[in-house]
């Protein structure tokens, strides 16, 4: 049953993106903590983004595990941010009086990235047009890398 529940850690610059999904078993949650902490040390990560968009249920045990992960990561110099919690899960936790104390929780993955200081910079249309023009007007050899996006 746990075969599909492998831990996915996606390196994202100096952060780790950890999407959780489905029914997160205790074993899976424990593996996750170990894997993330190892990766923080090995890859020198400064941030852990745990995305909960695909999680079906969060009970008090999983909350405690996430809090444990966040605390341990903090001691290793990495900040943990949770994102994407479904409204019904947030409502359930609130009704149960469970607080995710000490963990930053944001609505979306964009907010989580923002919290890590990663923001999107969109190149303006104007700049794009310039690049296209330049490549058309034959800055041939440099144009390839220049216009890449």
């Amino acid at each position: 049953m746990d075969d599909i529940n492998y831990v996915t850690c996606i390196p994202l610059w100096d952060c780790l993106l950890v999407p959780l999904h489905g029914d997160v078993s205790d074993t899976h949650a424990d593996e996750l903590v170990t894997e993330v902490l190892e990766r923080i040390q090995r890859d020198e990560c400064f941030g852990v983004l745990v995305d909960l968009s695909g999680v079906w249920t969060l009970d008090s045990h999983l909350c405690a595990t996430l809090a444990r992960l966040s605390l341990a990561a903090k001691m290793m110099g990495a900040k943990t941010v949770l994102s994407g919690m479904k409204p019904e899960i947030a409502m359930t936790l609130e009704a149960m009086g469970i607080e995710l104390r000490g963990i930053e929780t944001v609505a979306t993955l964009e907010d989580a990235l923002g919290s890590m200081g990663i923001t999107r910079v969109r190149r303006s249309r104007h700049d794009d047009d310039d690049l296209v023009m330049r490549s058309l007007l034959g800055g041939s050899n440099e144009s390839d890398s220049g216009a890449k996006r």
């Binding site: 029914d23 249920t57 969060l58 909350c63 405690a64 009704a95 469970i98």
Partner: protein, 147 residues
């Protein structure tokens, strides 16, 4: 996946022996919600409560079971978590919110009581029985669309 549980009349019984059985209990809880067409927060309450009670059995009583039943006349999902573990000697303290858990967040029982529409617990040195129920019928609210 199937709802592999012992069926006893119209009751589904999920035996709980260790923490890997929790996935099964949650799955049956989800299927039961589907059966009566509830989802979102309503369903989340049922599944989370089942997860808490089943975990308590696995952790503190070693073996027990969770029984699921749909009461169509009262329009209720009835869940009974029972075990023959050591019982909870400080239940009053726990339910009064004065207990500090060393094993967890200490919100399992209290949280379940807050989420469920009916909550009843009986405990003795011979074991613990927690009975909870959730209404699933159309509520008299401004929500009009039902599926």
């Amino acid at each position: 996946m199937t709802l592999a549980a012992t069926t006893d009349d119209e009751e589904l019984v999920v035996p709980i022996a260790n923490e890997s059985d929790l996935n099964h209990a949650r799955m049956v809880a989800r299927e039961t919600c589907k059966l009566v067409a509830i989802r979102g927060y309503q369903a989340q309450k049922v599944v989370t409560t089942v997860s808490e009670l089943a975990r308590n059995i696995a952790r503190y009583a070693q073996t027990g079971r969770v029984r699921f039943r749909v009461d169509t006349s009262d329009e209720m999902i009835v869940v009974i978590a029972e075990d023959s573990g050591p019982g909870i000697s400080n239940l009053d303290e726990i339910l009064a919110g004065q207990y500090r858990s060393r094993t967890g967040l200490g919100r399992g029982l209290l949280g379940s009581r807050d989420l469920a529409d009916v909550f009843d617990i009986q405990t003795s040195p011979a074991g613990t029985i927690v009975k909870i129920a959730f209404r699933y019928g159309q509520r008299k609210s401004w929500t009009t669309s039902t599926t």
